[in-house]
């Protein structure tokens, strides 16, 4: 085992940026409040002090412009990291992300590369409400050309951020704002985590749970509780949904025969549908029960805490759904 420290998720992300920026002077970082302020979530703390205004630059409230600049800079040989802070605001920049960043490598016949990282935080955290909580990562996954990263631990955020920055194509890097100040073990030395390799967070034999980001934690907590009832749950975190590690998931389901997908996003036309479709088709003969999905209710995020809790997948909800699945 390599040496580890217990640090915050957000600190791990800053380490990744710092180490990469030291290594490669073509990397720069732009976003609202990521300069002197050190980031709304402290997600750039200390970077401005070290790298200065030229490489760590506060932006006006111009998400489209920021991403557009990222595309141009990437085409011109730099490696920009563009911070959107709240994922919701990326809506303003969808055209630049989809039509330009995602497409230019293909359309130019491989002549241009667009090594751009777009970073943002998603998810609900203490009633962030309808405009600051959305989790629409499936949108990016639907678009050819974008890689989509959903780290769920401090160690993963560091290792995956490094891979994102070194990737030669556009990467949508989505953290969960609820995590940022949570702590977790992070290796001391240099490491990067490859894309497309799922993490089997917990081994089990009765049911497989596929979960992303914050939902991994919920799933692990539910698995712990279910263990006491004698139900053995395997928890898989895909870490990146593009590329998607189908194999690890299929192997698990072939073993357990049952799959629950837990997704903080709405189910309809989302990643939970894709994973369910893939497993239902490719593990057709191994399934002992229909694949089950637990997503957010199909509503916007209500502000009221009671409604918000009712809208989102919960540990209780996961436990109940696994029980039902095992009984069926």
């Amino acid at each position: 085992m390599p040496e580890e420290r217990n640090i915050q998720y957000v600190e791990a992300s800053v380490e990744a940026l710092q180490e990469e920026m030291r290594r490669d002077s073509s990397i720069f970082y732009i976003g609202q409040g990521i300069g002197q302020r050190g980031g709304n979530f402290k997600q750039s703390k200390g970077l401005w002090e070290e790298f200065g205004d030229r490489r760590v630059r506060d932006m006006p409230i111009s998400e489209l412009g920021q991403v557009g600049m990222g595309v141009g800079a990437a085409m011109a040989g730099a490696r920009p990291v563009v911070d959107i802070v709240f994922l919701d605001m990326i809506m303003e920049a969808m055209g630049q992300i989809v039509e330009q960043a995602a497409t230019i490598h293909y359309t130019s016949n491989g002549k241009f590369k667009v090594p751009l990282v777009v970073r943002a935080a998603m998810g609900s955290a203490r009633c962030t409400g309808p405009h600051h909580s959305r989790c629409f990562y499936s949108w990016f996954a639907h678009i050819p050309g974008l890689k989509v990263v959903l780290p769920s631990s401090a160690a993963d955020v560091k290792g995956l951020m490094k891979t994102a920055i070194r990737d030669d194509g556009p990467v949508i890097f989505i953290e969960h704002k609820f995590f940022y100040n949570k702590k977790g073990p992070v290796p001391t030395g240099e490491y990067a985590i490859p894309f497309g390799v799922a993490n089997v967070c917990r081994k089990g034999k009765d049911v497989t749970i596929l979960a992303m980001s914050l939902m991994v934690w919920h799933a692990l907590e539910a698995a712990e509780r279910l263990q006491k009832e004698g139900i053995s749950v395997e928890v898989i975190d895909p870490r990146t949904i593009v590329p998607f590690d189908e194999q690890t998931l299929l192997e698990s389901v072939r073993k357990t025969g049952r799959l629950l997908i837990v997704d903080e996003a709405q189910q309809f036309c989302g990643f939970s549908a894709e994973a369910a479709a893939v497993v239902s088709s490719k593990a057709f003969d191994s399934l002992d029960a229909p694949v089950s999905r637990l997503g957010a209710l199909h509503t916007p995020h209500p502000f009221n805490p009671v409604l918000e809790a009712a809208m989102l997948p919960s540990v209780d909800g996961i436990v109940a759904e696994v029980r039902r699945l095992v009984a069926s």
Partner: protein, 306 residues
């Protein structure tokens, strides 16, 4: 202005006590803008607002109790507590919403003005937004469209010099917002946004022009946010102490009170009376919100599709 001020200080107090969910942005110190502009509007006129919108909501006529309860996330709130501070809507007074998305209200106001102009009913729309909105897409397209179509709308920029912690001059080479009106071929006027009388006069002219079919106006109100960006931000790390202190001296309520007293229009006792009256009103609103029941989880799926 007293109502807005006391309302927000009570909200602040309640929030600090830890019972309120979410995050809130207070308008304290900028009340002269909402007050001076909205004085010209009827319930049938429209307003779009921002993340810092409590003042706009009250000035446009959202009931105090229901606003308090909404910010607290209570089911008795004007939107059942589903919206909270950044999502306050009230069709009964043409209030088209505070808004969590910077600048998004600008084209929405142009659209409301288009509806009014189609009906020819003489109503106008006003869009409030911060300096942070000025460099955003929606400012550009929303204002240009209103100008091209000569819609009855007034754009009111509350330039408080900062967007979160970022000074305006760091993110643009033209910090004169009023001058940007020229880009769209409409009049632009920069005024002292902490002088409610000046706001009232200039907004009155712009709104009258809009009602008369003479098209939009952009008004830049120089103002300041003496508190932090949101409740929890001390607001001091990125601004010189002197700047904050200086602006506190220009408090719009104190200034109006002083001017009115000096002009002999009002006695200090009368002002105290108003204050106390508002105090009672706010206290009632607080109690109303506090005593409201919790939301019913079963309603969570209501109103997704109209």
């Amino acid at each position: 202005m007293q109502r807005m001020r006391q309302f927000e200080l009570r909200i602040q107090q309640t929030y600090r006590s830890g019972v309120m969910p979410g995050f809130i942005h207070l308008y304290v110190g900028e009340e002269a803008v909402a007050a001076g502009v909205c004085a010209h509007l009827s319930r049938e006129d429209y307003v779009t607002s921002t993340h810092r919108g409590h003042g706009h909501a009250l000035a446009k006529g959202v009931p105090v109790k229901e606003a308090f309860a909404e910010i607290w996330g209570k089911p008795t709130g004007v939107n059942g507590g589903r919206g909270g501070s950044m999502h306050i809507y009230d069709p009964s007074c043409g209030f088209l919403g505070t808004n969590g998305i910077v600048a998004a209200g600008i084209p929405i106001a142009s659209g409301a003005a288009m509806a009014a102009s189609l009906r020819g009913d003489g109503h106008v729309a006003v869009s409030f937004f911060g300096d942070g909105a000025v460099n955003n897409c929606a400012f550009h397209e929303g204002i240009n469209l209103a100008a091209a179509l000569m819609l009855p709308v007034v754009f009111v920029c509350e330039n408080n010099l900062y967007a979160t912690e970022t000074p305006f001059h760091r993110v643009t080479r033209n910090t004169n917002v009023a001058s940007r009106a020229a880009a769209y071929g409409i009049p632009g006027i920069g005024i002292d946004g902490n002088d409610v009388l000046e706001v009232h006069r200039v907004a009155g002219e712009a709104i009258a022009r809009a009602r008369a079919g003479e098209g939009p106006t952009l008004i830049e109100c120089a103002t300041y946010r003496p508190l932090g960006h949101f409740e929890g931000d001390p607001g001091t790390g990125y601004r010189p102490k002197e700047e904050i202190a200086e602006w506190k001296l220009r408090d719009p309520i104190d200034r109006l009170a002083l001017a009115a007293m000096q002009a002999g229009l009002v006695a200090e006792a009368e002002l105290r009376d108003i204050e106390r009256q508002v105090e009672r009103e706010i206290e009632e609103a607080y109690e109303f919100a506090r005593l409201s029941p919790e939301a019913d989880a079963a309603t969570v799926t209501d109103f997704v599709y109209a």
